[in-house]
Amino acid sequence: MIQKSRLHIPHPPARPGEAPDFSYLKISAPGEVPRPDVNTPAMEMADLAHSMVRVLKDDDKTTGPWNPHLEPEVLQVGLRHMMLTRAFDDRMQRVQRQGKISFYIKSTGEEAVAVAQCMALRPGDMLFPSYRQQGLQIARGRKLVDLMCQCLSNTRDMCKGRQMPIMYHSREGNLFSISGNLTTQYPQAVGWAMAAAMKGEDNLAASWIGDGSTAEPDFHHALTFASVYQAPVILNVVNNQWAISTFQAFAGGGREPFAARGLGYGIPGIRVDGNDFLAVYAVTEWAAERARTGAGPTLIEHVTYRASAHSTSDDPSRYRPKEDSESWPLGDPIKRLKQYLVQLGVWTEKQHKALELELEKHASDSWKEAVTYGTMSEGPALDPSDMFEDVYKEIPEHLKRQREQMLAEGGK
């Protein structure tokens, strides 16, 4: 018999073969959480970190002080961005399975976080994403074909073949270069925001990490610097319950909500229903107003569920129940926004189905175009000697020699 020590070992509520159990989740009723003034001191609104901001009700209507009162046309744009993100993900998953790209990460079930937040911010705001916010790229108008070319490391790849798939960036889109290292972008976002404040600009920075990544030291660095200098930054924790195979309790989520981590730094923490497009939009708008008016940073915890595998290299059926995703009590963000629009009378099931097909076709057509710029095995290819560029601003002598040597040796 295995001896048990007094040490506490966190366990997820259910493992494969067991019934899904989300009884650990504390969920507030829609409309229940008050909306304080943005200048309220963090500790006076500590409840925001322990409750959950929600706007959409189970009957597909809205309620409460956080309702952002968005026009139906804006919501339709949001719905489209989320659906396009999902269509893109599905297409990329499929081509990865066909061996056309080496790796991919889906954001299924979390689309509202990136899309609603991006729409609540301004184009001049600088975004420092992790690897699961492709919705930001799409909501900022990056073309699917450009994102696909990055995943293909082909001749149109904005990274020139230097990064794994999904590590996009866009200087003109104010989307920072994505790193595979966890949480490194968090203090960088704070520094960017500090510089914006120093220069007297009213742009803010926003950054995203997962629940597991809160354990990294850069999380503490970012919150400390953001608090000390009251940087105009929005720091987001996308709590999708799973860090690859470890349940969020392994990052400390079993004790206190991640949003509450802000309070010790004097930073307001807000816990929001991450699958409620309207709620995510509203808290982001609130945090942006705080940042822009000099009231300081905000930590937002988005409670959501990673409906897909961590990546194409992962098999979640080995560590969590297969039915987990369908049992998630906060539902699906696309479905919820769709139902709301249908209930408003500005959207129909038929329109929805037609849009789904249109976006699927768009993803498929984009892929067909992307591969004409090359794949890793055929078609036009990047010049390998280009790897010596951009190590430094100018190529130093020893790299010029190495490049010549590589070319003289035939390149491979």
Partner: protein, 337 residues
């Protein structure tokens, strides 16, 4: 011209950079109100304000991480890591982020930051205030790594580093902040006023990165060194009567190979000297490069004089420190071969 020690020269460089370029900010632990534990930023906050000379939380990873973000947003941060021994918490931000940002974004993003850090031993600092980690950073592609050995170079190279669009890790040999040190701890301290490189222009000038300097011409052998050891090598050479040419590398990455090649082709003999530990140290790169470039001119195996491969011992500093005697022994070894 003015007389300056290295601290004053570095201070002058930052003062000028702050005055000339509104995007320059100084940041680090104790660098603001207090002026830095070595006084390198003394008076800068008073003159330029506490929005440009920032005291920071004690978090090296946070300092470098936020400096990167500021650099990306058009600022030119000069971050101080109080001792090179404390740079490791920032290692991930330097190696995985700072060094690779330009390359991974195909030139679309870069962070033109300078990381200043006092390094090296000889101050009774034990293992946490004496390390010479430059070789750990020269192995990283995408950052420049430099170390001046005198006030004139310190100022000119720091201005070059700040103005450089690539990130620069700027190590300052703290044993010679106040005066050149020849490796003999029993001799009275010598101030920089006794050294020609203590003469420093008050205004703006630069010393280019990537250029070595011949500090003593000679014909018998070549000593390749940098930092504090430049002065130890000069003293050792004068003591032993071997006419060695002494090269101050100054810039470890990028390395001025041509100056090394010309000298070793002439002398045929080479001794490499650094304070840092020997195994996989920067001397190994120097030795390999010189062997590749000058093999047919070499009359003797290249010798390396370095710190022993142990943590820096507090009680046995002068047994550990690669002083004059060990340099002279190495010179005799290459001459006798």
């Amino acid at each position: 011209m003015a007389q300056m020690n290295m601290i004053q020269a570095l201070n002058s460089a930052m003062d000028i950079a702050l005055s000339r370029d509104p995007s320059v900010v100084i940041m680090g632990e104790d660098v603001g109100y207090f002026g830095g534990v070595f006084r390198c930023t003394d008076g800068l906050q008073r003159k330029h304000g506490d929005h440009r000379v920032l005291d920071t939380p004690i978090a090296e990873g946070g300092i470098v991480g936020t400096a990167i973000g500021m650099g990306v947003n058009g600022m030119r941060p000069v971050a101080e890591i109080q001792f090179a021994d404390y740079i490791y918490p920032a290692f991930d931000q330097i190696v995985s982020e700072l060094a690779r940002l330009r390359h991974r974004s195909a030139g679309d993003f870069f962070a033109p930051i300078t990381i200043r850090s006092p390094s090296g031993g000889g101050i009774r600092g034990g293992q946490t205030h004496s390390q010479s980690p430059e070789g750990i950073f020269t192995h990283v592609c995408g950052i420049k790594v430099v170390m001046p050995s005198n006030p004139y170079d310190a100022k000119g190279m720091l201005l070059s580093a700040i103005e450089d669009d690539d990130p620069v890790v700027f190590f300052e040999p703290k044993r010679i902040y106040n005066g050149p040190f020849d490796g003999d701890p029993d001799k009275p301290a010598r101030p920089w006023t006794t050294h020609p490189k203590g003469e420093v222009p008050e205004g703006h000038y630069t010393v280019p990165l990537g250029k070595a300097e011949i500090v003593r011409a000679g014909t018998d052998a070549t000593i390749v060194t940098y930092g504090t050891m430049v002065h130890v090598a000069v003293a050792a050479t004068e003591k032993c009567g071997i006419d060695a040419e002494i090269i101050d590398v100054r810039s470890m990455a990028p390395l001025d190979v041509a100056t090394l090649r010309t000298s070793v082709e002439k002398t045929g003999r080479c001794v490499i000297v650094h304070e840092a530990t020997r195994f996989s140290g920067y001397g190994a790169e120097l030795s390999a490069t010189i062997q590749e470039e000058c093999f047919w001119h070499l009359e003797a195996p290249i010798q390396r004089v370095a710190g022993w491969d142990t943590p820096y011992p507090h009680a046995f500093e002068w047994e550990y420190f690669p002083g004059q005697k060990r340099i002279i022994n190495a010179l005799r070894t290459v001459m006798e071969a």
